[in-house]
């Protein structure tokens, strides 16, 4: 059996930008803050150098420049690491993009602790919380290459502010591009099962699939749901899963505060109280280390999801 193909969603982002430009997105421009090599906007820069504006290490200004460009009829994608885009430039995104509801796409790479060796200063586990809190902001976190490219294209086609998080780590491509369709705000049920619902986003979707496979071998049927669009949440899909499974686990490479887990918890508390466990980063900072080892250490793994599922079923 051939090895599963692995691609970092930041690479998908850079490639999707080029594909957009090749397919008539003449109003697309790309901004970066001295990280074009890492965010992969460098791929776009190589193909379309006159449409890539480096803003230097000045993320706040970059977001404002993007806002200004959008008022001129252009569609800017502004990129940096999640920490410096959603984090440092939060108020610029809130006041210069969100409040006027401008057509700006904040495309942040290096989200979560899988940033790895750089350590806590660069491991952003707060971006969903920050971006979700802005009225009118679309928040997405694609799970693999196929979905990431589709999310970039959907973000471009959508008129309004969008935040998309991509990862540094190469992750398995489990979607079949030929049969894949994507819509902002629509989740995706990946497995059949009524014993427990595992609702995941980003690289945790693949971990959820592995956990479900292992549980299945033990006679437990988990319903895995992929939520790429964290805001607006696909309420219908989540509520259906909660009603039919009775137990819900959320999984995200983000703080358990303010992200997918809390979005699901809020929805269920109001509309369908259901037993819930949140798998995520437990209100703590990360640290340096290899990405795979960190994910395991922080419980962002198939093994931990499986353990939580069993605890819920036994309790």
């Amino acid at each position: 059996m051939s090895e599963v193909k692995k691609i970092a969603t930041r690479d998908s982002y850079g490639n999707a930008l080029v594909e957009l430009a090749q397919n008539g997105a003449d109003d697309l421009v790309v901004l970066d803050a001295d990280l074009a090599g890492a965010t992969k906007t460098g791929i776009f820069k190589k193909a379309y150098p006159d449409r890539h504006f480096n803003c230097g290490i000045a993320e706040c200004n970059m977001v404002g420049v993007a806002a200004g460009l959008s008022t001129m009829g252009l569609v800017p994608f502004a990129s940096s690491f999640a920490m410096f885009a959603a984090g440092r430039a939060f108020e610029q995104i809130r006041n210069s993009v969100g409040y006027p509801h401008l057509n700006v796409k904040i495309a942040a790479t290096h989200g979560g602790i899988s940033v790895g060796e750089d350590g806590a200063s660069h491991q952003c586990c707060e971006d969903f919380a920050l971006m979700r809190s802005i009225p009118g902001m679309i928040v997405m976190c694609p799970s693999d290459d196929v979905e990431a490219k589709a999310a970039v294209k959907a973000a471009y086609a959508y008129e309004g502010p969008v935040y998309v998080r991509f990862g540094r780590l190469a992750v398995p491509v489990f979607h079949d591009a030929a049969r894949f369709s994507f819509e902002i705000g629509k989740g995706e049920q990946l497995t059949e099962g009524n014993d427990v619902a595992i609702i995941a986003t980003g690289l945790m979707v693949n971990e959820a699939l592995i956990a479900a496979e292992s549980l299945k071998a033990q006679g437990i049927h988990a319903r895995v749901i992929n939520i790429c669009t964290i805001k607006p949440l696909d309420e219908e899909l989540v509520l259906k899963a909660a009603r039919e499974c009775g137990k819900v686990i959320t999984c995200e490479e983000h703080s358990i505060i303010g992200g997918l887990g809390e979005a699901v918890a809020a929805l269920l508390s109001e509309k369908c109280p259901t037993r819930l466990r949140r798998v995520g980063v437990n209100d703590e900072f990360g640290h340096s280390g290899p990405a795979a080892a960190l994910l395991k250490q922080f419980g962002l793994s198939a093994e931990h999801i499986e353990q939580v599922a069993k605890e819920m079923l036994n309790g």
Partner: protein, 282 residues
């Protein structure tokens, strides 16, 4: 500039000052001080400098103005209203719960406002983006932005200046209102931003220093802006905060306070007298 035109601009600036007093009195809040100091600049921009049309406020080829010191919205609104972007009669609804005249400029509710601002330091970045966008699109569009001398303590201002100089945005004109006062007192005491001229030069700007209440000097500054190629322009205008209303002049306390009924009467009395004098000069 002909004496006739200058007289006309002076009257229009006096009207803008009346609009500032009317609106802040109507709001029972707002920022008259820094609005009054920039009254001549608002007037010149909207009557002489900007290629804008009140009948087509969203014309994609118009010049852009971004009020980076967004709290001086009363000055901008008065200039826009008297230029015909919306009814002058609406000015006193400023900051009312059902008014489109938000406390700080809102591009989606106020005709003629090119960018939503209010959080200091951010407007200049958006303006730089507009100037870069115009260049990228090959359009002959100039972008102007007005900042306060207290505002330029924000680091983002200097990020935006680096950007404008780096990309040779000679269609970008930043104007700094050096009225010397901010909320907590004198700018030189709160956080000294001087010497702004040397800093702006070092950041790659063509710098013009003027008296911001003198229309001849304002005209000269913009002529220099138009003549300057390959680099952005920074107009430093020395002004008096609260200019035109005797008890507001040079008082930091009038940065963000509205005139009560009695103060309103006195202010309008002074401005009406100034207007009568200008009318008589004709």
């Amino acid at each position: 500039m002909t004496e006739e035109l200058k007289l006309d601009l002076k009257k229009k600036a006096c009207q803008v000052r009346m609009g500032i007093i009317e609106s802040t009195h109507g709001a029972k809040a707002g920022h008259p001080g820094g609005s009054l100091s920039a009254a001549e600049m608002f007037t010149y921009l909207y009557n002489k400098e900007l290629r804008v049309d009140p009948k087509a406020p969203r014309d994609p080829n118009r010049d852009r103005f971004v009020l980076s010191k967004g709290h001086t919205a009363p000055g901008l609104y008065a200039a826009l209203a008297y230029r015909g972007f919306f009814p002058v009669a609406d000015l006193p609804t400023l900051r009312h719960i059902d008014s489109y005249l938000q406390g700080h400029p809102n591009m989606n509710t106020v005709p003629g406002v090119d960018m939503s601002t209010g959080s200091l330091g951010q407007g200049i970045s958006a303006a730089a983006g507009m100037a870069k966008g115009a260049k990228y699109l090959g359009k002959d569009i100039n972008v102007y932005t007005l900042l306060g001398d207290g505002e330029i303590a924000e680091g983002e201002v200097w990020e935006a200046m680096l950007f404008a100089a780096h990309y040779h945005l000679d269609n970008f004109c930043m104007i700094v209102d050096l009225n010397g006062l901010q909320i907590d007192g004198r700018t030189c005491d709160v956080m000294n931003t001087a010497p702004v001229d040397e800093k702006a030069k070092a950041f790659g700007f063509h710098v013009v220093e003027i008296n911001g209440h003198d229309f001849d000097e304002i005209e000269r500054a913009f002529a220099e802006f138009h003549a300057c190629a390959h680099k952005p322009t920074c107009i430093l205008m020395h002004t008096t905060k609260g200019k035109g209303v005797s008890f507001m002049e040079n008082q930091a306390g009038w940065h963000g306070k509205a005139p009560n009924d009695e103060e309103y009467k006195q202010a309008m009395g002074e401005l009406n007298a100034a207007m009568a004098e200008l009318e008589a000069a004709k």
